[in-house]
């Protein structure tokens, strides 16, 4: 259940295990899934939806006072399985993922329940989120905007235009999560693009308040956000593992795109079941 106090880490661990299995299930329906990028950010997205986003008490169906953008749109399976769990999306929606009968694609699309902006082209989400946060700030409605970024999209100049403006506009109601899994679609960033690092220092130097945590440690992620000052835009730099939870996917670039075979799927599910026992 949704809680804003005393984030239940054990429950989060159970949820994320089930979400991982659900993501792998979907990978057996179509070949259009980005598995590993969803697995790396999963705990942080879980914290957003189950710990940070405030449900609108006046709404008949679940909706939130706060906003969330999946700027790394290719990680949207993490968002979809959570929205399914919350009842915002249906099982049928996920069963029809990437099919003509469905409404969910491999990138989030504005207008779909629970999806607040169309993302997927990288380097867009932070700017849009900054605009949303600024509008909320000057309209005084107390909303917060959460946004999930990939480290790969921080190679886009537009991300840094947004970093500067968010700090200039002092949007203390903007909270970003950086899924620092060190992989783009092709290779490790630390090898192919070493000047990207140190990223944490760059974030701070651009006028943001930031903390670096283990991005799979839900408690650390939650505590970091709760402890922010609220005076500046805030970023959780979450060190993560691409393909987290499935041994043969972890840190292997090909799983950015690839869908597992039946045998690989069986092995992955077995691993995720073992962890739960």
């Amino acid at each position: 259940m949704l809680k804003n106090q005393n984030f239940d880490v054990a429950a989060a661990r159970r949820r994320c295990l089930a979400y991982r299995r659900r993501i792998l299930d979907i990978s057996q329906q179509v070949t259009a899934a980005h598995i590993a990028p969803a697995l790396s950010c999963l705990e942080m997205v879980d914290v957003v939806y189950h710990g940070l986003m405030r449900p609108d008490p006046t709404a008949r169906h679940l909706s939130f006072l706060d906003g969330f953008l999946m700027s790394k749109g290719h990680g949207c399976l993490a968002q979809y399985v959570i929205l399914e769990d919350l009842g915002v999306l249906t099982k049928a929606d996920l069963d029809r993922y990437c099919t003509p009968a469905g409404q969910l694609g491999a990138h989030p699309d504005y207008g779909v329940p629970g999806i607040e902006a169309s993302t997927g082209s990288l380097g867009h989400g932070l700017g849009i989120a900054t605009g949303m946060a600024y509008a909320d700030k000057i309209q005084g409605d107390g909303r917060r905007t959460f946004v999930m970024l990939s480290d790969g999209e921080m190679q886009e100049g537009s991300s840094w235009e947004a970093m500067m403006m968010a700090a200039n506009l002092e949007v203390g109601n903007l909270i970003a999560f950086l899924d620092l899994n060190d992989f783009g679609g092709l290779a490790r960033m630390s090898e192919g693009h070493p000047a990207f690092y140190p990223i944490f220092d760059k974030v701070r130097a651009f006028g943001w308040e930031a903390v670096e945590v283990n991005g799979h440690d839900a408690s650390a992620v939650y505590e970091a956000v709760m402890a922010r000052s609220g005076r500046h835009p805030f970023m959780v730099v979450g060190k993560t593992v691409k393909g987290k939870g499935v041994s043969f996917m972890e840190h292997v670039a090909i799983w950015h795109y690839r869908s597992p075979s039946k045998e690989e799927y069986a092995q992955a599910i077995a691993e995720l079941t073992e962890v739960s026992s």
Partner: protein
């Protein structure tokens, strides 16, 4: 046009607190400065950062504000093109993208600052509307429409400053999506839009001197184009001339020819556009237009007018 836009926007913004402006390091002309001083929270300068200018507008529109992005046309459309496409048009948000200096208005700044393809490029994007007023009064009417509209994205293509009044005696009122007869003739019709309209009136005089009664039409709304109005114009005149400050592909001229083909128009049809060429030339706005063959003498000669 700049000052008229600013004054009109300022008046509207006093009534509607949702109206906001995001500029990218462009000096706020005329009343934009008053707006900035009175409503500092609703005026954002992103500096030389056009992608975030568009991204901010998208985010603010998603939260119920009515943002206007405002800078030189090349930097409104070309530099942040994919942000215009994805953030604004794909999501069909009611954001007005104001481009100052459409066409070759910035005649001394060189080709980097000429928005020769802006209408073609903006018009290629689904959901986008395009309005290109020809004088200050049309700029005012178009701006008033933009601040009210809920249709979706608009590219408002303006000139610069000092444009003469061309429409105070217009036959028709300004209406979004409708051709506007600025003067009615019976033989020839010149279809055009934007600040080049001043030259168009000079050409109309040449037709009159040659004994041809000339209509002048402002096709201010380039998208959605008034196809029925163009069809009627093609049917009502023996000769139609399209003059536009845009590259040959993707602008008004090709569309008028398409409509003429579809309806089997019997009239003579000529078009004069910017050249499909970067011309390395500096001078007055008229000098730049002339370098592209868009001056009364060149066009008159090509049309066989004395």
């Amino acid at each position: 046009m700049r000052n008229t836009f600013a004054q009109t926007f300022y008046e509207a913004a006093k009534r509607d607190k949702r109206l906001t402006v995001v500029v990218a390091d462009i000096s706020p002309a005329g009343s934009m400065q008053k707006f900035r001083e009175e409503f500092p929270e609703r005026f954002i300068n992103t500096g030389v950062s056009e992608q975030i200018m568009i991204g901010l507008c998208a985010g603010m529109a998603l939260r119920g504000l009515r943002p206007f992005a405002y800078t030189i046309a090349t930097f409104t459309i070309f530099r942040p093109f994919e942000f215009v496409r994805d953030d604004i048009c794909y999501q069909n948000l009611p954001v007005t993208l104001v481009g100052i200096g459409g066409g070759v208005t910035y005649s001394t700044l060189g080709g980097t600052h000429h928005a020769m393809e802006d209408v073609a490029v903006a018009g290629a994007i689904p959901n986008m509307s395009i309005i290109a007023p020809c004088d200050p009064a049309e700029t005012r009417a178009a701006t008033l429409w933009c601040v009210e509209q809920t249709r979706g994205p608009v590219y408002l293509r303006l000139g610069k400053a000092g444009e003469p009044d061309l429409t105070s005696n217009a036959a028709d009122a300004w209406e979004f999506g409708r051709l506007r007869y600025l003067r009615k003739g019976s033989d020839v019709c010149i279809l055009s839009y934007g600040p080049i309209m001043k030259m168009v009136f000079g050409l109309a005089e040449r037709f009159e001197r040659a004994g041809k009664s000339a209509s002048v039409v402002s096709a201010h709304t380039l998208k959605p184009l008034d196809r029925a109005g163009i069809a009627a114009t093609l049917a009502a005149h023996e000769h139609v001339v399209v003059i536009e400050e845009c590259v040959p592909r993707g602008g008004l001229a090709g569309q008028v020819k398409g409509i003429a083909w579809e309806q089997g128009a019997a009239c003579r049809l000529d078009s004069f556009t910017l050249q499909d060429e970067f011309i390395h030339r500096y001078g007055s706005y008229a000098d730049l237009l002339a370098a592209h063959g868009l001056d009364v003498e060149t066009i008159s000669a090509k049309l066989g007018l004395a």
